[in-house]
């Protein structure tokens, strides 16, 4: 796990005593000047470009959930500068979980690219991301930088580098298995600290995970995603992408929040399917949706 440790920032600092050090370049001079300038500006009360960040939170666009997720925070929804976990309920729900990760990333990327890191072998076995399908969800596949990592450790290292770079909008790292090698409290803590520093949303996408007894991580929230029956279109054709989402864990103790969401590609927004919507016909109402019909709630304690 020490692999992730290597903090390139520290390595980069050339010490002045080192006779072989690169002399201070124009870039470094500009950086020092800029820092001094920013200090002066902030002292005089002028806002610098660095300070003017975009929204700090991202939402589903569904008022009921976003307000419930507010907790003690200043804004609705989930904090952007954090690590969130997305679990697939079952193996075959992986596509829904991946779509949810992509859609959340799309909702808060502000024109920056999405870094998608996956373990190559697993992706080959379980189905690869298919760009025309990404375009069908309303996301431009050009915004995605896709990485086939040879193993989990490399994937996590790449994620750590991605999260540190504020040029990225979102970093999604996809790991398979109940106990992926290298994924532990330390690694996730490091990811979430980097995310806090850089403001990059980091999503950890897990397939085949044990949602009953998940690995302890430093993630801000943990979600379980499964596919849900869609509202049929004409001639009983399968409808828009529909998800069942359940909040498994939240830093401020929320629990039991669940919803059925439908993605509206044209408005780039999720629609709450629970608000008085009749369950799909054919008399085959999945038992799960009955359980999750009302979000019990609110907050613990």
């Amino acid at each position: 796990m020490n692999n992730i440790d290597s903090d390139s920032v520290q390595v980069m600092d050339a010490s002045p005593i080192n006779p072989f050090a690169v002399p201070e370049t124009a870039g470094q001079k500009a950086a020092t000047l800029k820092a001094r300038f920013a200090k002066i500006l902030s002292a005089s009360g002028v806002k610098t470009a660095d300070a003017e960040d975009g929204p700090t939170h991202f939402t589903f666009g569904v008022g009921r959930i976003d307000t419930a997720l507010r907790g003690n925070a200043a804004a609705d929804g989930l904090p952007k500068a954090a690590l969130h976990e997305i679990h697939a309920a079952e193996k075959t729900d992986m596509t829904s979980a991946a779509a949810m990760a992509l859609l959340l990333a799309e909702r808060c990327r502000e024109g920056k690219p999405i870094l998608w890191i996956t373990e190559a072998e697993e992706a080959h076995r379980q189905g690869r991301l298919y760009p025309p399908g990404i375009a069908e969800l309303g996301i431009d596949p050009d915004t995605i930088i896709h990485i086939d990592a040879p193993d989990n450790i490399t994937a996590l290292r790449a994620a750590a580098d991605g999260v540190r770079s504020s040029a990225m909008g979102t970093v999604i790292v996809e790991l398979a298995g109940k106990r992926p090698k290298g994924l532990d409290l330390t690694a996730t803590r490091r990811l979430s600290l980097s995310a806090q520093k850089s403001g990059v949303l980091n999503l950890l996408l897990r397939r085949d995970s044990d949602t009953q007894d998940p690995l302890p991580t430093a993630a801000f929230s943990r979600w379980e995603i499964s596919a849900a029956p869609s509202i049929p279109l004409e001639a009983n054709a399968p409808g828009h992408s529909t998800f069942d989402i359940t909040l498994l864990r939240h830093r401020s103790g929320l629990y039991g929040l669940s919803a059925r969401l439908e993605w509206n590609r044209d408005d780039r927004i999720f629609r709450d399917r629970q608000a008085g919507e009749a369950a799909p016909d054919l008399g085959t109402v999945p038992a799960l949706s009955a359980d999750r019909a009302d979000h019990q709630g609110a907050r613990a304690a």
Partner: protein, 501 residues
């Protein structure tokens, strides 16, 4: 300058196994007979030569040892030696089987004269156990011929006519005409020679005499900008070597700045004083002159090495060359802050590509094919072309293409109500799925024009009928029937090609 290594194959054996007790030779099977291809020094002294049958040779030297000749290993060794000679000049060509050509024009300023350089080469080769003849001449062919025959510059006239390297018949004809040496030929009028032996002979003669120059084909092309450092005392610390590389890059980037260029590909060579060379390459996603970025990429590259850099007895020459450069304008950063996001993105992509290999970091591009699995390209993000717009799906439609695709498609067992109808139930990974909704078929024909006789019916490949189906749990699948029932196939197979969100 040419280097001729007459005992290269046998000295390779001696280096690998130590000096055998008896004279030995390398042999090869030629037309059913075992023939000597490379005798060692002792064997040559005993009168053995190339082309002699092993049985004959054993009759003369009973205790002769024989080993198999591995000409591939010789070629590799020659290439390695060529690389080792890159410390003298970047223009090096291998002249198989046993010679190297070095273009040392303007490269001798570290030595007092070209002879001193040549002697240095000889000493180094000698230290590693290879004996070499060298010769200096104004053209590569002349130098090569002189080195082969153990002569020095100016002695071209004493070369035998076989140095022309024509076929045996021509050589014989020349000797029969009383022309034994190149010197005999050089005085003769060229037209007569050309009329008798062909233009080829006069051309080769001119090359030998240094009248006509032939460009050599160097093993590596010259870099755009090359900087190097030589050390009287070898460097034994990696960190010091890396610092030198960074300094060299800073130096090279000053040159690049004057030209308004940035480096895309950087090649580094660390010459160890015992002849070993470590080669490193770094590629960036966009032209750069940033030493910090270079430093980061260099560290990545070194971390990703399979076997660590080992300075051994130390590096005595470190060279950095910019192999590919692209225009890079000076960029004005905003004074009030704001980050150069684009540069940061490129830096990240370069860093990850350096660590994992350029093929692993990809960007997607649409491809011109209606076959679903061929409709995309995953190109290395390092040199991805400018983005091509993707087809925008019509509004208010559900996704028609899956988010995850299986390649190859996965076989499923399907029960349909009618053989050419939609699926009713299907079994995938030993689990049954009940289809409650479907849409289709979307018929996708094969690329019959790609096949031989594809225009004839039945030879154009199988048509696919795609169905978008949803099962009772709400999962959406993309299934297809491979082949039209009854027309193309009696009992078409079904495949699962993708999963929808």
């Amino acid at each position: 300058m040419a280097l001729f290594l007459p005992y290269l194959p046998t000295e390779r054996i001696i280096r690998a196994r130590g000096q055998p007790e008896a004279p030995f030779a390398l042999t090869e099977k030629q037309r059913g007979a075992v023939v000597i291809t490379a005798p060692d020094r002792q064997a040559v002294a005993l009168g053995l030569g190339v082309g002699m049958k092993l049985a004959d040779a054993r009759a003369r030297v009973p205790d002769l040892l024989a080993f198999d000749h591995d000409s591939l290993a010789d070629a590799q060794l020659l290439d390695r030696l060529a690389e080792a000679c890159e410390r003298y000049t970047p223009m090096i060509a291998a002249a198989p089987p046993h010679a190297l050509i070095l273009d040392i024009t303007g490269a001798a300023h570290f030595y007092n004269s070209e002879e001193a350089l040549a002697r240095d080469v000889e000493d180094r080769l000698d230290a590693t156990g290879y004996s070499a003849h060298w010769a200096l001449a104004s053209t590569p062919d002349a130098a090569l011929a002189l080195a082969r025959h153990g002569l020095k510059e100016g002695a071209e006239g004493q070369l035998p006519v076989s140095a022309l390297d024509m076929d045996a018949k021509t050589h014989q004809a020349l000797e029969r005409a009383g022309l034994y040496k190149i010197g005999d030929l050089s005085d003769r009028p060229r037209p007569n020679l050309a009329a008798r032996f062909g233009m080829e002979l006069t051309l080769r003669l001119d090359r030998l005499l240094g009248v006509e120059d032939r460009p050599i084909d160097p093993i590596r092309s010259l870099g755009n900008v090359t900087t190097d450092r030589r050390f009287p005392e070898p460097l034994t610390h990696i960190d010091a070597a890396l610092n030198i590389l960074e300094e060299l890059f800073t130096e090279a980037s000053e040159h690049l700045e004057q030209r308004g260029q940035g480096a895309r590909m950087i090649r580094m060579m660390l010459f160890r004083c015992d002849g070993d060379i470590a080669k490193l390459g770094v590629e960036t996603g966009a032209p750069t002159r940033d030493p910090l970025l270079f430093k980061r990429l260099l560290r990545e590259r070194i971390d990703a090495l399979n076997d660590e850099l080992n300075p051994g007895f130390g590096y005595d020459l470190i060279r950095l060359s910019i192999v590919a450069a692209e225009p890079l304008a000076v960029k004005q950063l905003k004074l009030e802050g704001g980050e150069d996001l684009e540069a940061d993105e490129v830096a990240l992509v370069s860093q990850l590509s350096t660590r994992m290999g350029r093929e692993q970091v990809q960007k997607f591009q649409p491809a011109d094919s209606h076959i679903p699995e061929q409709g995309l390209l995953a190109l290395p993000a390092l040199d991805a072309p400018p983005p091509t717009p993707w087809e925008i799906p019509p509004s208010n439609n559900p996704p028609m293409r899956p988010l995850h695709m299986f390649d190859p498609p996965q076989r499923v067992q399907v029960i349909a109500e009618v053989p050419d109808g939609p699926p009713h139930r299907f079994t995938w990974r030993r689990k049954a799925h009940q289809v409650i909704r479907y849409e289709g078929p979307e018929r996708i024909g094969s690329e019959w024009w790609q096949r031989k006789h594809g225009q004839q019916s039945g030879k154009g490949g199988l048509t696919r009928d795609y169905y978008r189906v949803e099962d009772i749990r709400g999962r959406r699948y993309w299934l297809f029937r491979h082949g039209l029932y009854g027309e193309e196939k009696a009992n078409p197979d079904w495949f699962l090609h993708g999963l929808f969100a």
